[in-house]
């Protein structure tokens, strides 16, 4: 073992030995381990030599040696080829790659041999990565080119680039590019493929140690020339393809070409270049011919959505177009999206107008089904063809929304009413003979359409009325379905939207409980009613019920149950007022004086009237009406059905009513309260004026809520937040919001912030 102590070294002698080994290492010749170890120590000895360290000299000599060596390699690689030609099979690439393999390996070994020099001498001079990237005063000017020393391995690579690659660069480029072109059409055998790959790889490797633009050489030598040549080639092919056949044919080939190009890049080029290769192809073959592609979108969409045998073919074409155009970005895709929107919308309007022609008893079913057909058809199409891309699903939503909310002329949009009627139709109890299948699916469908409705507040009014009718008259198909529908609406629109619906639903459950308690109360107190009794107690404010809660004098037969119940209710609750909704009450009567017993279901006034005829066969209208304390028009509504079925007969005097003693009817169960929903439906849909007032109230409340929280807000932000909040109920116009803001400023809830033009502040 030699001493590590610095000593005097004879440079010439040591270098001569070292040089011989270096030549062996670089040439990949066998080197003995002992020799290797000795030379390793020599490097050390030179670096720490006494009195002067000889590291710089060693470095220079090594550089000189490598330069000479690479120059000789250059001769070997060049051989006798004419550099100007570009035949990639002339052997130049083979020789280049074999020299590179040998040299790059050798230099790597050499780097280890010189590791002391690298570590102790070069590292100290090296600038840190951070300094290279961010620059310091010393290195800000071109740090790669100064006289700084490189590690020996790096030095070797640098010399390779300077001495061998530069003179050959044009020749190498020409051959690599032409080899890649050949490989595109016919994959070369594995050996050749490997040579191309390694040649390309060498241009990357040579600079891999550089921090700044390590790929510059590769880009300059390989990528850029390749892309340029490829671009020209693609443009020629594309033009040729377009002349050859129609757009469908073109897209098919272009897509195949794109795949080929990407796989070519994958096989031969570094991963970082794939995007560039792809983009180059897309520029030449797609972007350049975009107008030609766009011109066919309409036709393809029309044919793809048709139901004939060609449609699958067209869908494939369309899908290809999407794949080709999508990478070019949203702007290139826009015509496709617009066309898809226009197409779906036109189709939707056609479906809609034929749906609306159906009889008014069925139009709601056809309406919902039409929208559903539209939605189903195009979401399937767009999913298949455009992979369900956001832009197209957005277009479908837009189209559906436009169709759903379309209105003819001045007429209000019918969607809210029709969808509410559809829900009513689904949720209603129906004859056992004609059950409705897939209730769940139908409700889901209703929600799909519902989400597109702008005027959700109007839908809610219709829905609430129908729900009230179903609940009060017990017409619901199932309470679970009712509840699940309310929950779906809540999921779509939030608590506020379904609050009242929830409360209505809860009232029904509470009422069932209440009846049980009432019966218990009667038993506990030994009380009996003279008739069957069932009551629903509804909370005020939640139910959309018009009509009088008037004090109609109940017939004697009803006074007892009503009185007892009120007594019970007062004992069970406190602070509550109870009002009878007589127009919604029904009584079940039996007619006994006829040969056959008839079961009547009649409104309370009807019961009162009939029961008053218990002891006599005739009465007068005015007397009966006075007894019932009802206004004329509603009285008329109650008497009319009795006359219609012939249970009562008009007397000689127009005021007189006679009981029909020889009454007979085919059916034994008769429902007199004209239509079951008559009472609940009595309040007509709100006139538009009323609706607008509701909306203004809603908006003002929203504005105050927002401002209370934010204190100071700019006009545009306020508008945005209000629109956001109202979206669940309706789509407010900016003009209306402005009016509401003005109104609130007048009422001194807000003020315009002093000194700012478009800012409001909240006044507590």
């Amino acid at each position: 073992m030699m001493s590590l102590k610095p000593r005097h070294v004879d440079f010439q002698e040591t270098w001569a030995n070292l040089k011989e080994t270096v030549a062996g290492v670089v040439g990949l010749k066998a080197v003995d381990r002992i020799v290797w170890n000795t030379r390793f120590s020599d490097v050390y000895a030179l670096c720490v030599a006494h009195p002067e360290p000889l590291a710089d000299r060693l470095y220079d000599e090594t550089r000189n040696f490598l330069e000479e060596h690479v120059a000789s390699l250059l001769e070997r690689v060049r051989g006798s080829t004419t550099l100007e030609q570009s035949d990639h099979n002339d052997g130049l690439l083979d020789r280049y790659v074999s020299a590179w393999r040998e040299y790059s390996q050798g230099v790597a070994y050499l780097n280890s041999l010189y590791s002391y020099l690298n570590l102790q001498h070069v590292k100290r001079q090296k600038v840190s990565d951070a300094e290279i990237i961010y620059g310091t005063s010393a290195t800000v000017s071109c740090p790669e080119q100064d006289a700084r020393q490189l590690e020996v391995g790096e030095l070797g690579l640098d010399i390779w680039e300077r001495v061998l690659v530069r003179p050959l660069s044009a020749a190498l480029t020409a051959r690599i590019v032409s080899a890649l072109h050949a490989a595109r059409d016919a994959p070369p055998d594995p050996r050749h493929a490997d040579i191309i790959r390694q040649a390309i790889q060498s241009t990357v490797h040579v600079r891999s140690f550089r921090v700044r633009s390590p790929l510059a050489l590769y880009e300059q030598l390989v990528l850029e020339p390749f892309l340029q040549a490829a671009g020209e080639q693609h443009a020629r092919t594309a033009a040729h393809l377009l002349q050859e056949g129609d757009v469908a044919h073109y897209m098919k080939h272009v897509l195949a070409g794109l795949e080929r190009e990407v796989s070519l890049a994958q096989r031969y080029l570094p991963a970082s270049s794939r995007e560039a290769v792809r983009a180059c192809y897309e520029r030449a073959a797609v972007a350049a011919h975009l107008p030609a592609l766009h011109a066919d979108v309409d036709r393809l969409l029309a044919e793809a959505s048709a139901d004939d045998d060609d449609a699958p073919q067209r869908r494939e074409d369309l899908s290809r177009m999407y794949q080709l155009v999508r990478p070019l970005g949203p702007a290139a895709l826009r015509p496709l999206v617009d066309a898809a929107l226009a197409h779906a919308q036109a189709h939707g309007h056609a479906l809609l107008s034929s749906a609306l022609q159906h009889h008014k008893d069925e139009v709601h079913i056809h309406f919902v089904e039409a929208i559903l057909t539209l939605h189903g058809k195009y979401s399937k199409l767009f999913n298949e063809v455009f992979g369900g891309a956001q832009a197209f699903m957005g277009a479908l939503d837009k189209a559906c929304s436009a169709v759903v909310n379309s209105r003819s002329g001045e007429e209000a949009c019918r969607a809210p009413e029709l969808v509410a009627r559809y829900c009513d139709w689904v949720l209603r109890r129906r004859p056992a003979a004609a059950p409705l299948t897939d209730v769940d699916d139908k409700l889901t469908a209703a929600i799909v359409v519902f989400k597109y409705i702008d005027d959700k507040d109007i839908f809610q009014k219709h829905y609430a009325r129908a729900l009230a009718r179903r609940l009060i008259h017990q017409l619901s198909y199932s309470m679970e379905q009712e509840e699940s529908m309310i929950n779906r609406l809540k999921a779509a629109c939030g608590y506020e939207f379904t609050n009242k619906l929830h409360r209505m639903f809860t009232d029904v459950a509470v009422s069932a409980d209440l009846n049980a308690k009432f019966q218990q109360y009667l038993r506990d107190n030994d009380l009996t009613l003279n008739t069957g009794f069932f009551i629903q107690v509804l909370q005020a404010g939640a139910w959309p019920l018009g009509g009088p809660t008037a004090p109609l004098a109940p017939p004697a037969a009803l006074e007892r149950p009503a009185g007892l119940f009120e007594q019970f209710y007062r004992s069970a609750f406190s602070g509550r007022r109870l009002a009878w909704l007589h127009h919604l009450c029904t009584g079940e009567l039996r007619v006994r004086y006829t040969p056959r017993v008839y079961h009547l279901t009649a409104s309370t006034p009807q019961c009162a009237l009939l029961l008053s005829l218990e002891r006599r066969d005739a009465t007068t209208l005015s007397e009966a009406r006075a007894a019932a304390v009802l206004p004329e028009d509603s009285w008329e509504r109650h008497v009319r059905p009795l006359l219609d079925i012939g249970l009562l007969l008009p007397g000689a005097d127009p005021d007189e009513l006679l009981l029909n003693l020889s009454f007979s009817c085919k059916r034994s169960k008769l429902r007199l309260c004209a239509s079951p929903g008559h009472g609940a439906a009595a309040s007509p849909p709100d006139p538009p004026q009323h609706r607008d007032d509701d909306r203004k109230m809603y908006l003002q409340a929203a504005i105050v809520r927002i401002m209370k929280q934010r204190k100071v807000l700019r006009h545009t932000e306020l508008i945005q937040e209000v629109v956001q909040q109202a979206r669940g109920s309706f789509a407010p116009s900016v003009a209306i919001i402005k009016k509401c803001i003005e109104a609130l400023i007048d009422k001194q809830y807000l003020e315009r912030a002093p000194g700012a033009l478009d800012t409001y502040s909240y006044l507590a």
């Binding site: 809860t506 008739t531 939640a542 602070g575 009002a579 029904t586 019961c607 218990e614």
Partner: protein
Amino acid sequence: MSGEDCDGMDRGDNDGPKSDKMFTLKKWNAVAMWSWDVECDTCAICRVQVMDACLRCQGESKKDSYGKQDCVVVWGECNHSFHFCCMSLWVKQNNRCPLCQQEWSIQRMGK
């Protein structure tokens, strides 16, 4: 039109013997509406109808879905009425009726 009525079995089963009556009432399906027995429909503290839950409760019942009527009404000796929730917060600051400034004491609670 019959629900699961509670007195169930035709207890007025007087079909047979005393059918001298011309009409008999079998059953009455009544509908009534209740509201708090208040002079003013809105709670003066939160400006919401007393029949609706107060603002605070509305905000909270967003969490538990089926709102039982928890938000009851309270009457003071002065006969003014408010949401109980609103009033119990109010008296912490000021033990007077917000409408008439009388000392607040509870006359009765809604149930």
